[in-house]
């Protein structure tokens, strides 16, 4: 029995190593995590808008391809990602919508007033329910929805200039063309 206690650390480490091995399996890239929702309808949501009185809902976004970005003021990578979003919104004029994930509305508002607001509209996901429905790991995450409201692509972690040039923009062009 006493021996077993001493085996515990080794046993726990073995489990950990297994997890690591799983995470390293070929084809697994944490930056392009597959979403269970790819090519399926995005989960329905209806969120209070951060500014004004309206709401942000899935049905309200139908009719054109859109980009939905989950962010939070407490999230450091979001701050890193932010300039990329600003460029997307200002130069590329893409329809970018934000969902403030598990964040106090006043904090989100302050974050945006500080760094600029790239979003056409922002929904407040105070309890993280919508994020859960989307299967978001955390923030930032970005989803591309087509005109019919189907999820076409998921980006986990901050968007980079590269991933935008290589994947996001071509996909949007393709969706807009079809």
């Amino acid at each position: 029995m006493r021996r077993l206690v001493y085996l515990l650390p080794a046993g726990l480490f073995l489990l950990l190593a297994l997890y690591f091995a799983l995470a390293l399996r070929p084809g697994y890239d944490p930056h392009v995590l597959p979403s269970a929702l790819i090519d399926k309808e995005a989960p329905a949501f209806e969120l209070t808008a951060l500014t004004g009185t309206g709401t942000l809902s899935r049905n309200g976004l139908l009719g054109q391809p859109v980009v939905i970005n989950f962010f939070a003021s407490w999230c450091a990578p979001c701050r890193i990602e932010h300039p990329v979003l600003m460029r997307l919104a200002r130069q590329e004029k893409i329809p970018l919508y934000g969902i403030a994930y598990k964040d106090k509305p006043e904090d989100s508002a302050r974050f945006l007033s500080q760094f600029g607001d790239p979003y056409r509209a922002i929904g407040v996901d105070r309890d993280g329910r919508t994020g859960l429905d989307f299967g978001a790991y955390g923030v930032p995450e970005t989803y591309v929805l087509d005109a019919n409201g189907r999820v076409r692509k998921r980006f986990v972690g901050p968007l980079s200039v590269e991933s935008v040039e290589r994947e996001l923009l071509p996909l949007l062009r393709k969706l807009a063309g079809s």
Binding site: P9, Y19, D29, W74, A76, Q114, G131, A136, Y137, G138
Partner: protein
């Protein structure tokens, strides 16, 4: 040519390391002194070779030799010399080389400064270090060669990420690695002790200085990283709970536990298996941290260019090093019987509590860091981590710890008198109460948790001073005698006092961040805005240029009711090579509060966004960390370690004389 020399030196170092990891080990098992002695010469030669290799890489950076792929990808001829130098380790390959170099320095230090170690133990320690070195040298040579050539030779390099071109960050990695890798010495000692099946007071006495030194370096390294984040990221935050930060914080937490538990082994000959386990785990977490950062398993702000092959290789290293040592632990540790018994309420008991809380804290950080990975593997629900998670789990564990740090040192070994200690701390209750009441009045019931945090800091600060006063029997014996006691007090006692005071200072800094004030406005030159009683006036914005950037520099006048306080010059730098903009904040500190100003975007019509913060006590966070590290250094200078050397060196010399 120089680069090839560096490469060959690295290959030679690998062979030396392989010899170092086998011959002394066999020698120790067979009692062959000559074979055991090989360890020392290998460690010294290894340092020479890895040092050569490191020098070759630095040389390539200084001379901007773009025929090296690594230099081309991370440097540029216009870069200031300092960043050419530090650019050598601001990338994956170079930083791994620095890692191995630090390891070689540690091994050489063990070889040089442990003449008092029993030769068998020294041989085994060096052999274990040789194994770690071999693993990482293999890793560098097979997956991350910094000396890979690049043809045709490009005219200029891609440049270093401008965010990394900063003095704070230039020296952050060496300190951090000194900390990480320094724990390898404790690890090697632990493994050697397990092989030998003997852990005693002498063992703890040898391990402690190494642990303490690495802990000091790691403390400074982490503080530098946090300070860098504070002044460069431009929004005044100083800790992000980012996976990479956590990777450095976890070994720090366990290392702190190890420093404390090894005292128990040294003084009371108990908690042996636990201390050995801590020594193994502390270094293991350094390795796991390396794995997490380099393998791309987790996404992070700081992530290096990642590659699954590298991840697999490091995972194998982890399995051999951590798995191997833990299995050894499972086999040998049950035989390590503790000697001294103690009551739960005693110095030992309080140190056990310290260890318990620190390890739980470390476990929390570990879980928080790996949450996404774990949940993905079991297909569970996705949860968010970040500030909400850590504030809810980590902080509640640290509050009792800080309270206990005030009481623990007042308890006697074996059986302590908690009630008596609590009575002797009466001054601390008064100061704590006073601070809390004063703050409540000033802020009119403001952020209550922050105020309690300040109370916590006051409690610890006063309790530590009371403990010092007790030691020198202040006011109980004549002042002159107290003074003599003050001088005679061992340095390690002062080390502890300083480290604990430093913690109190840092805690005040953490808590006070709730009182931050900020002002963000779009200002036209000449315009002004109020902040915390000051007036922030934008005078003008000037265009400047540096070696590899152009910058907009705002000239900002801070006044207090018309009286000039400071002129601040925050910048926005534009780096044409990388097409990247960074913000240089301007900070004016009076050590009680920081005025922090960052220059935001221009709106094209001559207006500029100015962000200004008033951050009370924020410098104390780093001042506290420096005091903690200084406490460690003072403790390191204690005579205890040197006397140990002298006592053991003498018989050894005597034997040698007989042998001659």
């Amino acid at each position: 040519m120089i680069a090839e020399l560096g490469h060959f030196a690295l290959i030679l170092a690998l062979f030396i390391a392989l010899v170092q990891s086998t011959i002394p080990m066999i020698g120790a098992a067979r009692g062959n002194t000559a074979w055991m002695g090989v360890g020392r010469s290998c460690a010294l030669t290894g340092l020479l070779l890895v040092g050569l290799s490191m020098a070759a890489l630095v040389y390539a950076y200084v001379t901007s030799d773009f025929s090296l792929l690594n230099v081309y990808q991370n440097s540029h001829s216009d870069k200031p010399l300092l960043y050419k130098l530090t650019g050598a380790w601001s990338n994956h390959e170079g930083s791994m080389l620095l890692w191995v170099f630090t390891l070689a320095v540690c091994a050489a230090a063990v070889a040089l400064f442990s003449g008092n170690l029993p030769p068998v133990l020294q041989a085994r320690v060096l052999a274990v270090q040789g194994m770690i070195g071999s693993g990482f040298l293999l890793f560098i040579l097979f997956t991350s060669n910094p000396f890979a050539r690049n043809f045709p030779v490009p005219l200029n390099g891609r440049g270093l990420n401008p965010v990394l071109q900063d003095p704070g960050l230039a020296f952050h990695p060496p300190f951090l690695y000194l900390g990480y890798v320094g724990f390898s010495v404790a690890f090697a000692f632990a493994v050697a002790a397990l092989i030998e099946g003997k852990v005693d007071a002498a063992w703890a006495r040898w391990v402690r200085p190494w642990t303490l030194a690495s802990w000091c370096a790691l403390t400074i390294g982490i503080a530098m990283g946090s300070w860098w984040a504070y002044y460069t990221l431009g929004w005044g935050g100083w800790w992000f709970w980012d996976p990479v930060e956590n990777a450095s914080f976890m070994p720090w937490l366990l290392g702190t536990a190890l420093i404390h538990s090894s005292i128990v082994v040294e003084k009371r000959d108990t908690l042996k298996a636990w201390t050995v386990l801590l020594a193994i785990l502390t270094f293991s977490l350094s390795l796991v941290g390396t794995f997490l950062v380099r393998s791309g398993v987790l996404t992070s702000v700081h992530a290096f260019a990642t590659d699954p092959a590298r991840g697999m290789f490091i995972l194998l290293l982890l399995i051999v090093a951590i798995g191997g040592s833990l299995v050894l632990f499972a086999i040998r540790a049950p035989a390590l019987r503790g000697g001294g018994l103690f009551a739960p309420l005693s110095r030992e008991g309080s140190l056990v509590l310290n260890n318990l809380l620190l390890s739980c804290g470390c476990a929390t950080v570990f879980l928080g860091t790996l949450y996404p990975l774990f949940l993905d593997a079991v297909g569970g629900p996705k949860l968010s981590v970040g500030f909400p998670f850590f504030n809810a789990t980590f902080t509640p564990l640290m509050v009792p710890l800080v309270i206990a740090v005030g009481v623990g040192p007042m308890l006697a070994w074996k059986r302590g008198d908690l009630w008596g200690a609590l009575q002797r701390l009466w001054v601390a209750y008064i100061t704590t109460g006073l601070v809390i009441l004063t703050m409540l009045t000033i802020t009119q019931g403001g952020p209550i948790l922050a105020i309690l945090g300040l109370g916590l800091s006051t409690w610890l600060f006063t309790a530590v001073l009371i403990e010092l006063a007790e030691r020198i029997r202040l006011f109980r014996i004549p002042l002159g005698q107290s003074l003599r006691r003050t001088i005679q007090l061992p340095r390690s006692a002062y080390g502890m006092t300083l480290a604990h005071l430093g913690l109190a200072v840092s805690v005040a800094g953490f808590a006070a961040s709730a009182f931050d004030q900020e002002a963000i406005e779009v200002l036209r030159p000449g315009g002004s805005m109020p902040l915390a009683g000051y007036t922030i006036q934008l005078e003008r914005v000037e265009r400047r240029s540096g070696a590899n950037f152009t910058a907009d520099e705002a000239v900002i006048r801070v006044t207090d009711r018309g009286n000039f306080v400071a002129e601040l010059r925050p910048q926005r730098k534009f780096f044409p090579v990388q097409q990247q903009t960074t913000a240089d904040t301007a900070i004016r500190t009076n050590f009680l509060a920081d005025l922090y100003v960052a220059l935001g975007d221009a709106d094209g019509a001559g207006n500029w966004t100015i962000r200004a913060y008033w951050k009370p006590l924020v410098p104390w966070i780093w001042i506290g960390a420096v005091i903690m590290a200084f406490g460690g250094v003072v403790s390191l200078s204690d005579r205890r370690w040197r006397i140990g050397i002298a006592q053991r060196a003498r018989p050894a010399l005597a034997q040698q004389a007989v042998g001659d």
